[in-house]
C-alpha cells in the first residue's frame, strides 16, 4: 500500500492555522494512499478560493481553474482519460454560488468522479462575505444587519439533481472524513462529499465547538443510504442535531457507461489518430 507522504506536494499550504481545509487535504491524501492510486494517475481540479488552492499542496496532476469552473474542466479531463482518478475540490462559494449551474448538471450526468466541497459558509479568500450556505441572520461584511437570504441545501440539491453518492464530513473528524472520501472515490458515479470545514478567521458562528455540539453520524443511527426519501429527509435536519455521514448511495450507469464511444475501454487520449476512416463519413454528402 502507498504511503500518505507520497501524496504530499512541494508547496506548503497557505491556509490560516487551524483552517478546516488542512484536515480535508490530509484525509484526501490518506484516501488516495489507502486506495493505492499512483500520484500520476490522480488529477485534482479546483476552482478559486482558499480551498481551491488544494491541488498545489498535493502530489498529483492538478488543474487550478477558474472561479466556479472546476467541474466542467474535470468532466472534460475525465471523459477523455477514463483511466484517471479525478477529484474536483473547492469551496461553497465556488461550487454552490458561481458554479452552481455546473454542480447540478454534473450530478445529472453522473460522470465517475468525486467532488469535495470545503463548506465554511463564508467567502474566506475575499475576507468574509456571505456565501450561498451562510445561515440566515448571520452578520458578515456584506450583510452587516444579518443575512436576509436562506442558505442552499447542497445535500438535497445533489440528491435531487441525480448524484449517486452523497455524503457529508467534518474537518474535526479526520478518520471519518477519509472514510467518506474513500467511499466516494471507490463509488462508480458522481460522488459529492460536502465537508464542514470551519473558517477560523471569518466565520465566528459555525465554529468547531458549534459543530461538535450538534453533529452526529448517520452510521451510528443505522441510516439506510439506499433509501432516497429518508436520505432527503435527513438532509433537511439542521439546528440542534446535524447529521454527517453517507446520506444516499445508488448504482446508476455513468456517463461513460452510456456514451457508446467510450464503451471500447480505451481512453480517447490514448487512442491512435486514424485519418483514413473519413471516406465513409463523406458518402452522405455526394
Amino acid at each position: 500500500m502507498a504511503q500518505v507522504k507520497e501524496y504530499i506536494g512541494k508547496v506548503k499550504p497557505d491556509w490560516c492555522p487551524g483552517c478546516g481545509d488542512f484536515a480535508v487535504l490530509n484525509a484526501l491524501q490518506r484516501a488516495l494512499a489507502d486506495l493505492d492510486i499512483a500520484p500520476h494517475n490522480a488529477l485534482v481540479v479546483s476552482g478559486i478560493g482558499c480551498s481551491s488552492n488544494l491541488p498545489g499542496f498535493i502530489n498529483a496532476y492538478g488543474f487550478h481553474s477558474l472561479h466556479g469552473r472546476s467541474l466542467p474542466v474535470a468532466t472534460g479531463a475525465k471523459l477523455c482519460n477514463t483511466d484517471l482518478t479525478v477529484i474536483a475540490t473547492g469551496g461553497d462559494g465556488d461550487g454552490y454560488g458561481i458554479g452552481c449551474g455546473h454542480f447540478v448538471h454534473t450530478c445529472r450526468r453522473n460522470v465517475n468522479m468525486t467532488y469535495i466541497v470545503m463548506d465554511n459558509q463564508i467567502y474566506g479568500l475575499t475576507t468574509g462575505q456571505a456565501s450561498p450556505t451562510t445561515e440566515k441572520d448571520v452578520r458578515t461584511k456584506t450583510t452587516p444587519e444579518g443575512s436576509i437570504e436562506v442558505p442552499l441545501n447542497p445535500i438535497a440539491m445533489a440528491m435531487t439533481a441525480g448524484a449517486t453518492y452523497v455524503a457529508r464530513g467534518f474537518s474535526g473528524d479526520n478518520l471519518h472524513l477519509a472514510q467518506m472520501m474513500k467511499g466516494a472515490i471507490e463509488h462508480k458515479g458522481f460522488a459529492l462529499v460536502d465537508v464542514f470545514s470551519p473558517c477560523v478567521t471569518y466565520n465566528k458562528q459555525n465554529t468547531y465547538p458549534w459543530f461538535r455540539e450538534r453533529i452526529y453520524k448517520l452510521e451510528d443511527e443505522k441510516h439506510d443510504p439506499s433509501d432516497f426519501r429518508l436520505g432527503l429527509e435527513k438532509s433537511f435536519e439542521w439546528g440542534n442535531r446535524i447529521p454527517i455521514g453517507l446520506f444516499y448511495k445508488t448504482e446508476r450507469p455513468t456517463y461513460e457507461d452510456e456514451e457508446s464511444a467510450l464503451r471500447g475501454g480505451i481512453s480517447l487520449a490514448k487512442q491512435p489518430l486514424e485519418r483514413n476512416n473519413l471516406a465513409s463519413l463523406m458518402e452522405d454528402f455526394l
Binding site: R69, L84, L278
Partner: protein, 586 residues
C-alpha cells in the same frame, strides 16, 4: 456558358429551404458548381424565408449581384425579391396564391402550384416538388438528377412516398409542356464528371475538425453554429469520438480545456453571445498554455442581435476579449472548402504553440452550401504538441521551462514524473503559483508573447493575393468576403483598373511583412468589412500609418461583388483627380 441565379421565396416552414436544397444537390449532381445563399427568419414557423442558388460551369466566388429566376410561393416573396430580378428576368409564381399584373419588365410564368398539388396529388405540400419539376422542365435540368435525388431522399419512408414525389415532379414537368417558353435560360448538364461533395461551411468545418484529430466536441446550442454540433454528434461516434452537450458555453470551453489538458484534441463552436461568455476561459488557456480551438460563427450583435443574419462584428472580441495581456491566435475562414482545411490549420497552430486559436466564421459562410472536391488529407499534415522526453520527466520536469522558441514540452496526466498544476494564477517555470513575484510575471509574459515571433511568420505565409500583386487600388479583406472581393477585383481589372486584393487568413498576429509589402506603392487601400466601425481597419491602423479607406456594410447581409466594384471604381476615379478618399457605408 451557364451562370444563373435562382431564388426561391415563401413562408418559413413551408419547404422553401428544402426545395432550394434539393435544387442545389440536383444541380451539383448534374455537374455544375453551385453557391447558395440562405436567409431565413428567426421564427421556426412563419416569417419570410428564401433560398438562393447560383449555378455555373466555372468556379463561383460569390452569390452574385442579381437574380435570374425568382420562384415566388407567395405575394410577400414577390414583393420582396422582384426588385432583384433585372429587366428580362424570369419570375415564376403560384397563381393560386396571388396575381401579378402583366408587364414587359419581367418574363412571368403564373403556375397554379397549389391547385396542381391538391387536385393532381392530393397533398398541398407537394407543390414544392411540383415546382422542382417546373424548374427542371423549363430550364432543361436533367430530369433523372431530380428523380434520382428524390429516390435517395425518400427511400427510407417507403416506396409509396417515393412514388408520390416522383408523380409530383412529373406534374410539374407536364405542366411546363402545356406552356410556351418565353425566356432563353437553359441549364443542361455541366462540365464536371467527377463527384463532388455538397457541403455547407459548418459541415465542411466539422468534417475538417474530424480530419484534424478532434475527438471531443463540447458545445451549447446557438444559431448559427448549432449544425456543427449536430453534424459531429452524428459523425464523431463513427470514428471513436463524441459530443457532450453542456449546460452553457462556459462549461463547454471548460470541458475543452480539461480534455486538451488530458491529451485529447477538443473543440467548441458558438456564436457571439456564447463567445462573450467564454472569454474568461480563453485567458486561462493562454496563461496555462493549453491548446484549444474555439469557433465563432458570427451573427449580428450586440447582445442577441439578429441571430439568423450575418456580420463580421466579433473581431475585437476575438483579438482583445479577456483581461490582462492575453496572446491568442485569431484566424478567419474564407470559403466552404477553406473551412475544411482552415480548421485543421487551427488545430495545428493550437497544438504547436500551445495556445487558444479562435476561428471566425459567420452565418453567411456557415449556412451556405458549395460544391467541394473530395478532401485531400495530405494537404494539411497533423501536428501534435511537443511532449517531454523520458529524460526530462526523470530529471525534475518543468512544465513552463524556458526554451529558445518559447514552447515548453507538455506532459499529460498518467505520465510518471510529469505531474504539475495547470494554473490560472501567474506561475513560475515549474508551474508553482508565483502571484507575488514581479520579475517572474514579466518573464512569463515575455514567454507567452515570444511565441508570436514564429506565429507571425506563419501568418505571413497564410495570405492570398488576387489580381495584381502591386496594384494601384488595393483591397484588404478578411473572412468570408474573400470570394466576393476576388470577383470584384476581376471585374475591376476587366475595366482596366489596376486592382488587387490581399486576404490574410491569420488576423492576429497580423501578417505585417506581407501587408507592408502589399501596400507599399499603392495609391489607395480599401478595407471592406461587414460591420459598422471597421474593426479590421482599426487593427491595421494600429500598425500602419496609412490612410486606409473603409467600406462598411451593416445590414445583416454580405457584400455583393458590385458593391465592392463600385467602391474600387470610385476610389480609382478619386485617385485620378486627386480627390480625398472617404469612408462609405453600404
Amino acid at each position: 456558358m451557364v451562370d444563373c441565379v435562382f431564388r426561391i421565396g415563401g413562408e418559413g416552414g413551408e419547404g422553401v429551404i428544402s426545395t432550394g436544397e434539393l435544387m442545389t444537390i440536383a444541380l451539383a449532381r448534374a455537374g455544375f458548381e453551385i453557391y447558395t445563399f440562405r436567409t431565413y427568419p428567426a421564427e421556426i414557423k412563419g416569417g419570410h424565408a428564401n433560398y438562393q442558388v447560383r449555378v455555373a460551369d466555372k468556379l463561383l466566388l460569390s452569390q452574385g449581384d442579381h437574380v435570374d429566376v425568382l420562384m415566388a410561393f407567395n405575394e410577400e416573396a414577390y414583393q420582396k425579391h422582384a426588385k432583384d430580378v433585372p429587366k428580362g428576368g424570369v419570375i415564376i409564381y403560384d397563381s393560386d396564391s396571388f396575381s401579378v399584373p402583366p408587364s414587359d419588365h419581367h418574363i412571368l410564368y403564373p403556375i397554379p402550384l397549389t391547385s396542381l398539388a391538391t387536385e393532381k396529388i392530393g397533398i398541398k405540400l407537394t407543390k414544392n416538388i411540383i415546382s422542382l419539376g417546373v424548374l427542371a422542365a423549363l430550364f432543361d435540368v436533367p430530369f433523372e438528377k431530380f428523380a434520382g435525388l428524390l429516390k435517395d431522399r425518400f427511400k427510407k419512408k417507403g416506396d409509396a412516398v417515393v412514388q408520390k414525389n416522383l408523380q409530383a415532379l412529373q406534374v410539374g414537368v407536364d405542366y411546363v409542356k402545356s406552356m410556351q417558353k418565353r425566356d432563353s435560360i437553359r441549364i443542361g448538364s455541366g462540365p464536371r464528371t467527377a463527384k463532388e461533395l455538397v457541403l455547407s461551411g459548418n459541415e465542411s468545418l466539422a468534417l475538417g475538425a474530424i480530419a484534424a484529430g478532434c475527438r471531443l466536441y463540447a458545445g451549447y446550442p446557438i444559431t448559427p453554429a448549432t449544425d456543427i454540433m449536430e453534424f459531429l454528434a452524428k459523425e464523431l461516434p463513427k470514428i471513436g469520438g463524441y459530443v457532450i452537450q453542456t449546460e452553457d458555453e462556459i462549461s463547454a470551453i471548460g470541458c475543452v480545456l480539461g480534455a486538451s489538458f488530458a491529451g485529447t484534441k477538443a473543440m467548441t463552436a458558438t456564436s457571439g453571445p456564447g463567445f462573450s461568455l467564454m472569454t474568461e476561459m480563453i485567458g486561462l488557456a493562454v496563461v496555462a498554455e493549453i491548446p484549444a480551438v474555439i469557433v465563432d460563427v458570427q451573427r449580428v450583435g450586440p447582445s442577441t442581435g439578429m441571430p439568423t443574419k450575418t456580420e463580421q462584428g466579433d473581431l475585437y472580441l476575438a483579438v482583445y476579449g479577456g483581461h490582462g495581456n492575453c496572446p491568442r491566435i485569431v484566424m478567419a475562414l474564407n470559403n466552404v472548402e477553406d473551412c475544411f482545411y482552415g480548421i485543421q490549420r487551427a488545430f495545428n497552430l493550437a497544438e504547436e504553440f500551445q495556445m487558444p486559436v479562435i476561428v471566425l466564421s459567420d452565418q453567411y459562410l456557415g449556412h451556405r452550401k458549395a460544391t467541394v472536391p473530395p478532401p485531400d488529407l495530405a494537404k494539411v499534415p497533423i501536428i501534435s504538441r511537443r511532449k517531454p522526453t523520458p529524460d526530462e520527466l526523470q530529471k525534475g520536469y518543468r512544465r513552463y521551462k524556458s526554451t529558445p522558441d518559447f514552447i515548453s514540452p507538455m506532459s499529460m496526466p498518467g505520465m510518471e514524473g510529469g505531474g504539475y498544476v495547470a494554473e490560472g494564477l501567474e506561475h513560475d517555470e515549474v508551474g508553482y503559483p508565483a502571484a507575488s513575484d514581479h520579475e517572474n510575471h514579466l518573464k512569463l509574459t515575455q514567454k507567452r508573447y515570444g511565441k508570436f515571433i514564429e506565429v507571425e511568420q506563419v501568418s505571413n505565409e497564410m495570405c492570398r493575393i488576387h489580381g495584381d500583386e502591386h496594384p494601384e487600388i488595393a483591397v484588404i479583406g478578411w473572412g468570408s468576403s474573400e470570394g466576393v472581393i476576388r470577383e470584384a477585383v476581376q471585374m475591376a481589372k476587366e475595366k482596366g483598373i489596376s486592382a488587387g486584393a490581399l486576404h490574410p487568413k491569420i488576423l492576429y498576429p497580423l501578417p505585417l511583412a506581407r501587408i507592408r509589402d502589399f501596400i507599399s506603392g499603392t495609391k489607395a487601400v480599401i478595407i471592406p468589412e461587414v460591420n459598422y466601425t471597421g474593426q479590421f481597419a482599426t487593427l491595421l491602423r494600429k500598425r500602419f500609418a496609412y490612410d486606409f479607406i473603409q467600406l462598411n456594410k451593416c445590414v445583416g447581409l454580405p457584400f455583393t461583388p458590385k458593391e465592392i466594384l463600385d467602391k474600387i471604381e470610385e476610389v480609382a476615379a478619386n485617385v485620378r483627380t486627386s480627390r480625398q478618399p472617404h469612408a462609405t457605408r453600404v
